[in-house]
Symmetry: C2
Subunit: 156 residues, 2 copies
């Protein structure tokens, strides 16, 4: 019997994408970059105090539209054509389908709505957490990225 | 009625810390840095194929030892003394207590055990996900960090 933990949404994400096929491979690929939003439910808005000082945030969300069957542990991404371990990919089909994006934070559209860039998920995706992005612990610009290096998304 | 999602561990983290008070403020603070491990349950080991090429990983885990009561949305960190919104902090007491660490990956201690540095959580913390760290989408070395700037952890 495996332990289980219950996650509940604290808000919802707004993006331009309404089907899994329409979602970009990552949130830096679309050109031009669309404006996205993270809406926070009223009971959590007090937790946003002082957020203006942070240029980037980490959003965690539940990829709620995946298949019910267990995910494949070795996957062959269409853009690569070779099999790779699931945990070397950012595939949305994971044992725990928690999505993570480092987003640029462009301020508040309303007191409960954050303007962000670089999301790649479906419109309506449930938001689980907002964390401040801290370059002191989160930025590793020299990190090596294995088989994904040849598919690296150029920075703009 | 709020939606709910069920997360289950894919493994467990080994660290030197056995009480919440003993955990460092972040995983870059201890000096010297301790070696930590992420053990992956047998049924998920196949997903680790090709992981060797990645120097850094993102680990997500469930902070299972927090209090049962709902977290405070405005918190006063002991190292700062001023109140701040919860979502501007990396406090482990969150609506969804999902921890995130960018760790250095130092190879395999066994086929199911990853050697990592920079964890800051309790020994025995349930592991939820392993993602490859991609500097192309995850590294923002110039990000501003609001009120946390004056508490920035120096890089070593």
């Amino acid at each position: 019997m495996t332990e289980a933990f219950t996650a509940r949404p604290i808000g919802v994400l707004s993006t331009p994408w309404h089907s899994l096929d329409a979602c970009p491979r990552n949130g830096r690929q679309p050109n031009p970059l669309p404006a996205c939003e993270a809406q926070v439910f009223p009971e959590f808005v007090a937790g946003l105090r002082d957020l203006e000082g942070f240029s980037h945030l980490i959003l965690l969300y539940w990829l709620h539209r995946g298949p019910e069957r267990p995910p494949e542990l070795v996957v062959t991404p269409p853009f690569d054509g070779q099999p790779h371990g699931l945990f070397t990919t950012r595939s949305p089909r994971r044992p725990n389908p928690i999505g993570l994006s480092v987003v640029a934070f462009d301020g508040f559209a309303a007191r409960d709505r954050l303007k962000v860039r670089y999301l790649d998920c479906l419109d309506g995706t449930p938001l689980l957490d907002i964390k401040p992005y801290l370059p002191s612990t989160d930025a590793e610009p020299q990190a090596t990225m294995g088989w994904l290096a040849k598919h690296r998304t150029a920075r703009r």
